[in-house]
Structures are given as C-alpha cells and as structure tokens.
Symmetry: C2
Subunit: 194 residues, 2 copies
C-alpha cells in the first residue's frame, strides 16, 4: 500500500510517501517539505501548495492520502493557514478519486512510538528506525508527514478486521521493529477490550 | 469591473458576481449558493466546493475574486470548514492568475450599509437596493457574497487613489444610492483624517 502523508501548513507543508507491505515492512519512497514565505501574499502561498500537492500526487500516485486532522485549538495565528492548506490538499486528492484519511496527532504518535504523547524528537527517531534511514528526515514536518503515512498504513490493519488479526498473530516478534512490536501489542490489548 | 464575491463555508458557500461601472453603478451577473451536507465525508464536500468555484471562474471570468477574510474567533466547530473552503477558493483563483482580495465582514458591512456593525438583514436589504433587484437574494450567504463583491469594487476607488478622489467629487449626491452616498461620505471623512 502506497500512502502519501501530509502535515499541512503554510510556512512548511510536510510531504512523505511510503510503501507498506503486507507484513507491515515500510519503505521510504519520497519525502520533502514545501515552504512558503510569510512575506508572500496568501494567494501566492496557497498556489505553491496547490501545485506541489498536484505534483506529488501525479509523481507518486498514492493509493491513499493521510492528512493531519486540524484542530482549532492550535495557535490562532497559524491555524487558519493550516486549515486552508489542508483544504487544498484534501480537494486535490478528492479530484483524483484518491481516498483521504484524517488522523489526529496523538493517533499518529501512538502508532509510531507507542505513546500518544511522544515529542517530536521521539517521532522523528522512530520514523528513522522504521524506514531504516541513515539520517533523520528534516525538518520535523517531513518526519511528521512520514509518521502520518505509516500510521495510516498500519491502521489499515486495525483490530477488528479479520485479515489484520490473522496477519498480526502470524508474525513473530523478532521480525518486527520496536515500533511495530509496540503497535502489535497495542492491537492485542485493543482486541481484548472489544 | 467584474468581481466574484465568495462567502466561504462548507455547508453553504455563497457566490455572487457583479459588474461595477466607473460611476459605481453595479449590476447583478450571477448569484448562488453551493451547499454540501454534513453527512457527506469531508473530502466529498471540499470536492463539491472546488468544482463549483472552478465552474464559476470559468463561466463568469471575473477580474478579481473577493473572499471573506476568515477569523479564528468564529465558532470553533465551523471555522475549520470555512478556512478549508476559503483555501480552495483562493488557490483556484491564483491558478488562473486572478487577483484575490480579502475583506473583513465589518469592511463589507460598512461599504454597503455605512455601518460596520449592520446585521444580516440590513446587508441583504442594501444589496437588493444597490443591485435594483425585485427580490432579495436568499439565503443570506448569497447576499453576503454579493456584498463582498460590491465592497471590493467600490474599494477599488478607495481614498488615497487620485482618480477615486476626482471621481467622488465629480458625482452629484442625487446620482448615488443611499449606500453609495454613505460610502462617499465615509471616504471623505477618511480622507480628512489622513
């Protein structure tokens, strides 16, 4: 499954593409950040984001686009730009018939680190490990976009879907990265609760 | 000058096109509301808005798009959708090289009614009068979009631009609608202050 993760923003919009195999092994396909300057007018900034997302969708042809769910509780001076950018990203995917999934930051953190309250450094560290990268993706927005994509791909095999259950139990702990192990454990716990 | 005014929103997005002559006389070209249901997924809703704005830009070829400036002080449950819709509208105009102007609700109210604190009914009444319509545009979002377009067109002749000053003084009071008269007075006051 190929997922494009997008951490929307006006100043920095993180974009990350991963391929995730049935055994949950994830591979980096592309990562980047689209930056626009606050000195530019809003329409020019949103146009840069619109063109970039189109380019990424055309180049990588993801099966799903995972976008960070925006909360109005954020810093009021940045939240409007984040929401405007996310609207453009979601509409661009919808135009191509690509499904869009929204995930909260805490869902993403929990998926890749095992804790919904992990800090940015911990997320970056786990993304680097999961994707077997030699260097950490920078800036944090790029790592966040990859984390979003990973979280979505792994959620695809969420507790409740029979195939996911079968797959999880068939995996041996040693074949898993630490994050995958945490995730598998979290899944088992969740299954026990339901 | 042809202006497309947009009152962005997810549930109701108001769209209004006016032609404004050099003497400030304004004519209705098109008005409508794009509605999406809260039962639909977000990507489907934003896609409807994206397609509609493209259609309006193609059909009416406005010289400027005037969009309501979104404030995060709005109701938190609706502000994100409003911002997402506005991002799509702004990017759509920017893609076509059409300039985008943002106006606050109070600027718009002041321009069409003479008071920045006018209520929705007063705005609708003045829009109906200014455009010499037989019936008021409904719902309020449609009237708001027209008010935005009018406010922008009239602002084009704002205090400070020499041509505007010449034009305002050359007009006789009897040739003006009540709103235009109020606006001309507001302009004079503003000029005196600066």
């Amino acid at each position: 499954m190929r997922v494009l993760g997008v951490d929307p923003g006006l100043t920095r919009c993180g974009l990350g593409v991963v391929d995730v195999a049935r055994d949950r092994r994830a591979t980096l396909v592309g990562v980047g950040v689209v930056g626009t300057s606050a000195d530019e007018p809003l329409d020019a900034r949103l146009l840069v984001i619109a063109r970039s997302i189109d380019e990424w969708l055309d180049r990588y042809e993801p099966e799903v686009v995972a976008v960070e769910r925006v909360f109005s509780q954020l810093n009021v001076s940045t939240v409007m730009g984040v929401a405007q950018a996310s609207g453009i990203v979601i509409a661009a995917a919808a135009r191509r018939g690509i499904p869009v999934a929204l995930h909260t930051p805490s869902e993403v953190k929990a998926a890749v680190t095992g804790s919904g309250r992990a800090d940015k450094a911990a997320v970056t560290r786990m993304v680097t490990k999961i994707l077997r990268l030699e260097a950490s993706p920078r800036p944090a927005d790029a790592a966040d976009a990859l984390a979003l994509a990973l979280a979505h791909a792994w959620r695809g095999a969420a507790p409740g879907s029979p195939s996911a259950v079968g797959r999880t139990t068939a995996m041996t702990a040693s074949a898993l990265t630490p994050a995958q192990r945490l995730w598998a454990e979290a899944e088992s716990k969740a299954r026990r609760k339901t």
